[in-house]
Symmetry: T
Subunit: 146 residues, 12 copies
């Protein structure tokens, strides 16, 4: 197995998922608007799924011999996600921000899934599972846009 | 209530707890040595407790009208914790790093507990609970140093 | 311990919480509007928390030797809460009514917490817990006002 | 369906059950005597069953288009139950008070069950269930009178 | 017992409930709009209750010696429900469609309940339970229309 | 992603699984013979698995932007499964009917799995899971044929 | 309420259910044949349901003021059920014996349900529930006769 | 193994336990007096333990090739227990009756335990467990006699 | 923090709670009288709560650097509780003994709570929790004295 | 204690139970015939019980200082059980094979139980438990032979 | 039964188990060293098992009419266990101390098991169970000595 | 599908997993050394995962029509794993033995995963899952080597 190439894909995924979980929590706290209640819970569900995925991805990296780096300094520097605003955020804007973040992560995951098929079937299978889950999450946020 | 002063103490606590949770996960993954197994689980338990505490602290901030900021960029910039090394870390070194991080957080928490008594009994009570839990965690890591 | 002073604070709290629980149930049933579903459940959660708090407060009163009075006649006569309307109530109005009731209760609870510190630490600790929970509930209703 | 007649029967039941639950709680707290322990728990069980029944009855009312009214003011004014005394109540007296309250409620429920058969089978079935449960409770209190 | 008459009522109920469950699932998937989240879950709850009721109704039919027919061809041909549209459906329209379907089913159920009283008390009791549950569901959808 | 081609495969799968679930329930009710008991439960297990799979398949379709159609009219018209007989069915015949239906579904699923590899790894992975489960179910019915 | 008439119906039901439970256990132990396994469990399920029903029936009797009598001597003397044979019993014969016992009990229950409607709606509702359950059990044994 | 001797001891135990369970239920229903509540539950616990023991004893008998006989006619004829009175029984009398019945059963069990040691260690071990449980139950009833 | 002063308060609490738990168990075993059943369980609940509190208190001591001493020799020598008698104890006497022991412990806990406020908020909060629980237990025993 | 003699009995039991579990799994997979379903589950239950027993037996051996040997090579060489055939096995033959294997194991266990009484009561008690469980399993397979 | 001889054996066991549980807790708190984590939990498991055994032994004593004495004064005076040191104890020393205490208890238990066979089979069976559990615990501590 | 080629890969996997589970249990029992506790549990977790995987692999084989062979004789003869020593094994040596066994199994699994892609996507997916789990297990043992 090409540890360097597989490991880099896993490390990049870890960075994106860690940032995504932090953004979901940030919006979970600062959300306002008439749809507060269901979005507040939906964002918690998203955080839980993303944190679990991040943990599995990091443990896959160390399993193949590539030490993962999930420190906040690394994540802050390397994440490709657009930042979310500070302070209160209205519910409609929250939905748009989450859809945007999920689209960014999913597009990158899909490219990794394609190239991992020849490198490591286990890592590919893990990322297919993560991608399937996050695409479904994206639908459930996007549907709220009407 | 002095929202600014109470809110600032909660926000600072959120930053420290978020960094602490990320450090615990980082060591959970990259730990090596004969004590791997029990430390690996102990670090997961620490992460869980710290993440739950961070969530309660952030929700207390928003409850009193102070929007919390738990974004990775903010945490990376504001955290007072010494960084943990990247790559593999031997088990004895892991214990020392965690004790050091917990001591830093706990010392700061104790000062906040003292001054919150006159500002907001609810926030003080919350931080007393967090401090009690993390001091106990610190004992259980420190005891391994013999 | 000054049983009369501590007991009176607990008795007053019992009256307010009992009325609050009845109002939450009343709105839980008569609520209408597009946000019916999540508000209906949120009001049930509020009722549950308030009833449990009322029970703990009453049992603290009897524990210190002050017989609590939670009979409907007493509550109807003594409660400081503004009455809620009968018949169907639109969802936006429900949110405003609940925020108003919670603000009334929480302001009175906070004053009691302040004066109980010197009278009975156990009763104070109990009311701090009730206050923290209801302030959080107030945030989660208020946030829906945008 | 005759909404007015069915709804009135449900509303009257709601008032009685709400008062009954408050009385059971009142005695649960202020009970004294050698049989304290088992009666204390038995009264809690009664409260739980009565509150659940009240909720079902109120939701049946709103289901058929009759807005229920469970506010403490309404209940205090409309309830046909004899009031229970304030302050401590010896265990033997508690049993007699509960049996009396249950007999009052059950007698009224039985009359409603009879006339609802021709008006609304669903409401009748609900009240049969409530009546069956409360008659069984009445037996279990009355049996203690020897 | 008149197996033919009771069995026909159960069979007709089975057809309606089977179609209702399929419609609820169809809307559960294709729903869009700002109220997506809570409606999506509410429709799943409806499906679950309706499928369980259909199973009980079919098993009652076979119990009395009338073989039930829940095949898709039979349901498609026999169901009195108005069809739901294909493709995406906005949330407000979804609520109206479900209320309409529930009203159709409930009106027919109520007529069957009336005539089953003299034919088979067990089947009548079963349909009273189904009707009570679906009328409550209808309230919880209708309430969203404001 | 080619939404049309992937979506059509998912839609066809939804139709087949919906019909399969209805057939399993139909036999679950109308089955007779000395092996009634274990087959009755086995068919319920099959229904549960197939309904869950249908739900996942439909949600995958909507996730990729293809509105699924699971209405009974559509299923009745489009399903490739041979119909099951009405009325009572002896246990041996039930086993043969289920094996036949599962073989039809599995053969079609296997062809879709093959062509989805290049179109959408997530959908392929989902159908592999469904296929693996249903092939195992087919073994457990076929084994009863001796 | 006519306690004597209602109580006698409940007492007779208690006798029949107690004997039925004992017969089911007797066959549960002494059953032999290739269908041993599923019948052995099915008989245990029957015993559990019948014992629970007997307990509810007896408690209804005492609730209305009629002391029930479930002593073995009374049951042995009063039960209208045909006795089951001692020693080992082949599985086919077991099914026939259970169907016969259930038919006897159910026929008598149905007559009581008819006459209780005018005497006591609660007792009638209880027996409707018992009858519905046992008729379903009868189907599930009878279906094994093919 | 001497099937006849071991089987006879198991069969006699089955008869006694079956009668004991019926007596416990009989008193569970007809008990009156100020200690009703805790005795009512204690008798239910006794019934549950005795029924489970009877089932294990009967299954041990059939396991060694001795068909057990637990039919009500057999139990009524063979049981050595003194009968309990019909109608209501005051709580103090209930305790005395149960202690008497348990003493009868336990004395006989102890003799069987002694002689089974040389015949079948498995059956002996089973009866030691039953005896230990029932002697403990006897203590918990006898202690109430003061 | 003054480890010596805080630690001594925790150590003294540990001694008292350990003795209290042993006394509760002693009475749990040797209790006799008509109220045996509920007191027997109530004493078990007390033991469980007291043991859990003792464990938390001891772990707080070691957390602050004060090694706790819970050995039986130390407890026997240092405990301020009056001894309970050996042999059987009538239920009324048991209640009086427990109330006396709880009063002794609670009075001492209350004094410690007062002085710990300035020394260590975490230890104070822990003892407030213990005190609140044991004062409630005291009420529930004392109420039996009528 | 004579470690060699006790340990040898435990080691021989471990070998037999390990082979028995493997045979049960082998038949669990390769079974065919109309009784497939219930036998398939029954064999899984047997495997679970036997594996748990083997683990307890091996841990008893190491507890007394006799290192157990459960390696496949040892088991293959030492097991006294007749081998089961490879490939598919009809259900009737499966029952006969399992009864034969259980009889072999049980006969040997019974002899060990007899001689362990004087050597080690703990090991004897463990084997009595294993024997009782497997004799009951043997009954439940043998009963299927009619 | 010779109550005095059996009771004395049970009383002596109670004393030893009570001291053993206190020692295990003492070491659970004061343990230090790199193996802290797993030993800390293992000692908690030991305490739980020993406390449960002490309770069963004491309840067996009172069951046979011998009032047990588990008061700390009695235990401190009568226990044959060597005392454990106060203050912090290194992990290797903890293991040695626990093994020594378990060996003392187990040797005495084994002698009691031998002589109880002729006195009371139930008490013997109870102590066999306790001994088997504690010998297994002893292995799991001793194995750590390498 | 090429049943012979897919089946052979599944059969070879079954042999390896069966031997691996037996080796893990063997070391679970005979392990000694200061790391006994956590390794003892870790080996149990490994056994559980491997046994579950073996069962799934065997059931996949029979599902595709290839009768699996998991008899101990076959496993002993066909397994490619190096044997583990008998008697006690020090903890460091245990870790090395497990890592070696896992490396052997995982290397062979990876080759099978590669070639199954073209033969049977379901079997490939199953083995990817097994491989991913065992590679993670290998990391968690190897990390203890430092």
């Amino acid at each position: 197995m090409n540890v360097e190439r597989v490991g880099t894909d896993l490390q990049d995924t870890l960075v994106e998922l860690t940032d995504l979980a932090a953004q979901a929590k940030q919006l979970h706290w600062n959300l306002v608007g008439p749809h507060f209640l269901s979005l507040h819970e939906q964002l918690d569900g998203l955080t839980g799924e993303v944190r679990a995925a991040a943990d599995e991805v990091a443990e896959r990296a160390v399993t193949i011999g590539f030490p993962p780096d999930g420190r906040v300094g690394t994540v802050a520097k390397e994440s490709p996600l657009r930042d979310v605003p500070d302070g209160r955020v209205p519910d409609g804007r929250v939905v748009a921000l989450v859809v945007d973040a999920l689209d960014t992560v999913n597009e990158r995951l899909r490219r990794r899934v394609d190239r991992l098929g020849e490198l490591d079937a286990v890592s590919q299978d893990l990322l297919i599972g993560v991608l399937g889950g996050l695409e479904k999450r994206a639908w459930m946020f996007r549907a709220q846009l009407g």
